[in-house]
Amino acid sequence: MTGTPATAWLLRAVAPLGGERADLLLAGGRIVETGPPGTLSATDTGARVLDADGLYALPGFVDLHTHLREPGREDAETVESGTRAAALGGYTTVFAMANTNPVADTAGVVEQVWRLGRDAGHCDVRPVGAVTEGLAGRKLAELGAMASSAAAVRVFSDDGHCVSDPLLMRRALEYVKAFDGVIAQHAEEPRLTEGAQMNEGACSARLGMAGWPAVAEEAVIARDALLAGHVGSRLHICHVSTAGSVELIRWAKSKGWRVTAEVTPHHLLLTDELAATYDPVYKVNPPLRTAEDVAALRAGLADGTIDAVATDHAPHAPQDKDTEWSAARPGMLGLQTALSIVIDAMVATGLLDWAGVVDRMALAPARIGGLPDVPVDARSSMDVGAAATLTLVDPEARWVVDPSGFASRSRNSPYRGMTMPGQVRATFLAGRPTVLDGKVV
């Protein structure tokens, strides 16, 4: 794309939300006109035409949980490479986690990450601020300074570490009310998970690996839901992984407390049996759980107990994965496979329709993250006047995962060689294409 940013685009015969086909004219960063397929003219506006017959138009996806690794581990990922992967996965906003080096616990670091994202231009980067200085869990970071910075931080998380001190967690929840912030908790009771390598259960017993019990997640969720209810604050639970957690969140929501939750694509698809390979590509935190947990997570996402899908995209350099299991770092790539896994786990199984996918991957995470101008529902995201922040998906496509072709600098995808349904063909960020014909513009 060499045209000026003001170039208009005419999406010819696209299917908004997978419904009836229509022409969509994008200009000035908005959807400015819609009409039956073949009726809108490109010549009046000088718009470029994209033949989108067979493609679904969905609002651009929002990832609440991305590790971009910059600053500090640019060998594994950079803001540039990670946001390329995001755009290719249909994402238009990613929330960049704070566990960088230096940690994103000051206005300076979050502004640096925000600027790198703006300069790369592949998608909006919203930095997540650390809750505590250095993620150490002892002293609050300058949450207000990060909120007032150019990065306008609203989501705070010590992700990778749990804010395990209950008093500190209470204070953090209370403090961010001043700027409608949310604490995104990595729920992991640290004493119950010392040395933990994988889900505690039949597999860990057989494989001789220290277990990460479900109760270590559930106990923290229960405590924090009670705290959030007590102080009336917003709490978000990162990467929910157990059936018990789904029950607890359902209970917390039934009380009217402001608790939201996300699930990762890998927890919707993979189970702890994969650890039997001892291949650390399957090592992740929280760990892969059992088939029963997977079923409960899918049901929770379907009924809205779990609000959003978030990737926990966690790139790692080869030397951090090509090792014995216990020496490997936890985490897996997610941005370029998330939609396909959601289609496989949720749409193909009849648990979620396309409006549901839009809600869980775009609208709900945007609301949780405090983004401006979030459409009230999936339907209105395609109305005239809505933001031209879109992803165009070929729902019939089938593709084989080959991590060597990924935009990420890392290759730690657990889906290597798997055949996936659905593929992102184009992504538009405020009217400007970031991906066309499946390639970064």
Partner: protein
């Protein structure tokens, strides 16, 4: 036989019996004045030990030498490994040196299985973390069969820190495959949470189990487990789960007392029990050499020349 010996869980009954029968032949050899066979002449066996274990390393070394293999001892301490070299780079180094077999002891569960993906030679697991120690289980089975004449139908009681024991895991799977009935006895803190899925009986009461046991296998209990609250004190552990002379007297007359070593005398086993006629502890060491000879022989002896073997990955 499989190409590697990583676990007893995937060992077929016929392969396990083949190891035991071959070990019998090897044991007869050690009664001769010249104890060496030319079988593995020109083959290279690497002992790759990332944990100190003089006992197991020496046993493998002796086994390989009795089969005329060239043996290289590659210990993690004082080598490039202690300077931060990765397991994979170490594996590629050994591969470049042309190792036909790698005997691997590693503190991480699954490390030998990873290694097997990186080298062409056979990998023998000599103990990986809290996962498995297959040759120990094979030598235990060999010892039981020699003493009692069979394994089928025997009641074998394994006592101690099952949670952290690679010996226990390998024994549970192998003894099950060979038809013995296994009972685990331990404080609940030292059993896996999911032990109910294992093909074993579980008891917290050693006294109740001993009179019906043909074999009692005592596991080492590391003192550092106390600090992690697995049990209150050494004294309490010893009183509830230690095998002293009074308890040993409740065993049937033919019953064996086994220990994989190293023992903590006075903790899990009393000295007079460890040194009693029903104890097989010293025999287990001798049998270890025969069983490891059998394993090396079966994994390497039947294979084609190294250069003709396919690359796994």
């Amino acid at each position: 036989m499989n190409r590697h010996l990583l676990s007893t869980a995937d060992l077929l009954r016929e392969d396990a019996l083949l190891v035991l029968d071959t070990a019998e032949q090897m044991a007869r050899l050690s009664d001769r004045s010249v104890k060496k066979l030319p079988t593995l002449r020109g083959r290279t066996v690497v002992n790759l030990f990332f944990e100190d274990s003089t006992r197991t390393r020496t046993s493998f070394e002796l086994a390989a030498k009795r089969l005329s293999a060239d043996v290289i001892n590659f210990s993690a301490k004082g080598s490039s490994v202690s300077k931060g070299e990765s397991l994979k780079d170490t594996a590629l180094t050994l591969e470049a040196m042309g190792a036909d077999a790698v005997v691997c002891r590693h503190p991480a569960s699954g490390a030998p299985q990873r290694l097997a993906g990186w080298v062409r030679g056979s990998v023998l697991n000599a103990g990986d973390g809290t996962h498995e120690h297959p040759t120990q289980a094979l030598l235990d089975a060999f010892t039981i069969r020699r003493r009692l004449g069979r394994l089928e139908g025997l009641a074998v009681t394994i006592v101690g820190d099952v949670l952290h024991s690679r010996v226990a895991r390998s024994n549970v799977w192998l003894l099950r495959t060979l038809g013995a009935k296994v009972t685990l006895v331990a404080p609940p803190t030292l059993l896996p949470n999911a032990v109910a899925d294992w093909p074993v009986d579980v008891s917290y009461n050693l006294d109740a189990v001993l009179p019906g046991s043909d074999v009692v296998m005592m596991l080492r209990v590391q003192r550092e487990r106390m600090s992690a609250a697995f049990f209150p004190t050494e004294r309490e552990y010893s009183r509830r789960y230690g095998l002293d002379a009074d308890r040993a007297a409740t065993l049937p007359p033919h019953a064996l007392v086994m220990h994989p070593g190293p023992m903590v005398r006075g903790m899990e086993i009393a000295s007079d029990v460890a040194d009693s006629p029903r104890s097989t502890i010293v025999e287990q060491v001798a049998n270890g050499v025969s069983v490891r000879m059998a394993c090396l022989y079966l994994l390497l002896g039947g294979a084609d020349e190294p250069e003709e073997r396919e690359v796994i990955r």
